[in-house]
């Protein structure tokens, strides 16, 4: 059980980290913008936008993967456009896995960030405005720094969700070793083969360690940036 990681296991971990990091990094600004819109602005269609953002949380992941396939597949409208204009195809590629992970992580990230933006006292923003700050300057110096714990929490949740993403990924980009076979897909594949108990257990422990590591890292980051009494968990 306790043996050094094999090249195949390293490949799975490396791919999972790459997919999750890319997914979370690209989603972060979009999630924060959506969180800010939903927390601070009243506009027609706000409820619909809120529902759309949260949809991946309640719809079966397989359905999300199927919708991604319809939109971003070779014959899908977005997929065709990407292929024709940029020469990019997401199907059966790790980039597609990152897109699936991003869509699944988005609601969790938006939720955490929105709560922390709502918790920022708007009267402080008003005070900043009277002291000479424009809307943008008040956002940058008051709202953004005060909502950092939510950004951290949302990022960790999103990252953990991305590491664990299974249904949408396998539906959208299949289960290709070295390309789209992330940790959960590797565990699923190993389970299909008899006599792989130890391999499955090793991968499961790796999944737990990765997620735990992410949580502890973010806790440490929040404490370092906001003082030891602050925490993300």
């Amino acid at each position: 059980m306790i043996a050094p990681l094999s090249p195949a296991e390293w490949e799975v971990i490396g791919l999972s980290l790459k997919v999750s990091l890319v997914a979370v990094t690209l989603t972060l600004p979009i999630a924060y913008a959506l969180a800010w819109l939903l927390a601070r602005r009243r506009f027609p269609g706000r409820v619909l936008l809120d529902a759309l953002v949260h949809l991946p949380l309640v719809v079966p992941p397989v359905v999300t993967g199927y919708v991604l396939l319809l939109l971003f597949g070779r014959t899908g409208p977005v997929g065709q456009w990407l292929e024709a204009s940029l020469g990019v195809s997401l199907v059966f590629r790790w980039t597609g896995a990152a897109l699936a992970a991003a869509v699944m992580a988005l609601p969790l990230m938006v939720r955490a960030m929105r709560l922390s933006i709502e918790a920022v006292d708007r009267r402080l923003v008003g005070a900043a405005r009277t002291l000479g700050a424009s809307r943008w300057q008040a956002f940058r110096t008051i709202t953004l720094p005060l909502s950092i714990p939510g950004v951290m929490a949302g990022t960790v949740l999103g990252f953990a969700r991305s590491i664990g993403e299974f249904g949408a990924t396998i539906t959208f980009v299949s289960n290709i070793p070295g390309e789209t076979r992330t940790l959960p897909l590797a565990i699923y594949s190993a389970l299909q083969v008899p006599g792989t108990d130890i391999a499955v257990a090793r991968l499961a422990v790796l999944a737990v360690l990765l997620s735990l590591g992410a949580l502890l890292l973010s806790e440490w980051l929040v404490r370092r940036s906001l003082g030891k009494d602050s925490h993300v968990l």
Binding site: D121, R123, L124, G126, A127, A128, R129, T130, L131, G132, A133, S134, Q137, T141, I142, P145, L146, L226
Partner: protein, 209 residues
């Protein structure tokens, strides 16, 4: 004319109306609790948009519903001392004090951080966070922060509340100095008749209908 204000604003079922024309640089605004004194200050600061009327202070028109003028809060340059201080919790006292000066045009400040620290006796607090301050300390820092943003006029919402007698006397002296030396229009909300009597003869009452 220091103040030329005539505004009406409706909140829920309540009408707040303020009429104020005065050449006196320091005007006290009085009225029963809930009459809309803070609402009026928020309208003047640009945090609330009055339903109609006109606000001009020190010759500058900040708001005029008929002429379609409505300056953004940051363009009004008011030093607003809120009733509840509203210090920024993630910044130190020093950073709170310096917050407004970074947006002020260079050379327009009329008081230095050192002078403010001496005047309000907050030099020892500079490294601390607002959460660790007492009510009186918080208030003094809030006054200092408002003075340091190079304001064109001051809005003081109960500036002496929660200060002990000695400290209140010092801040009162400071307000008098600003009134006399800076010729800055000051609008002061207060419940304290003695405080008002010492500072100004111009008292305007706000009424709700």
């Amino acid at each position: 004319m220091s103040f030329d204000i005539a505004i009406e604003h409706r909140i829920g079922t309540r009408d707040v109306s303020l009429q104020l024309q005065s050449g006196n640089p320091l005007v006290a605004l009085v009225g029963p609790s809930g009459a809309g004194k803070t609402t009026a200050l928020n309208c003047i600061a640009g945090l609330l948009r009055p339903d109609q009327g006109r606000i001009a202070i020190g010759g500058t028109t900040l708001f005029d519903s008929e002429a379609g003028i409505d300056l953004q809060p940051e363009a009004r340059r008011c030093g607003y001392v809120f009733q509840d201080s509203r210090l920024f919790p993630h910044l130190t006292v020093k950073q709170n004090l310096a917050y407004g000066s970074r947006f002020a045009d260079p050379g327009t400040e009329w008081i230095s951080q050192q002078e403010v620290a001496d005047l309000l006796d907050i030099g020892d607090l500079l490294g601390r966070r607002p959460q660790t301050l007492s009510g009186g300390e918080e208030r003094r820092v809030a006054i200092g922060r408002a003075l340091l943003c190079a304001p064109h006029f001051l809005l003081l919402d109960e500036p002496l509340a929660s200060l002990d007698a000695e400290r209140a006397r010092q801040v009162l002296t400071c307000i008098e100095r600003i009134r006399d030396e800076m010729e800055l229009p000051i609008l002061l909300v207060s419940h304290d008749r003695a405080e008002i009597a010492r500072l100004t003869e111009t008292v305007v009452s706000i009424a709700d209908t």
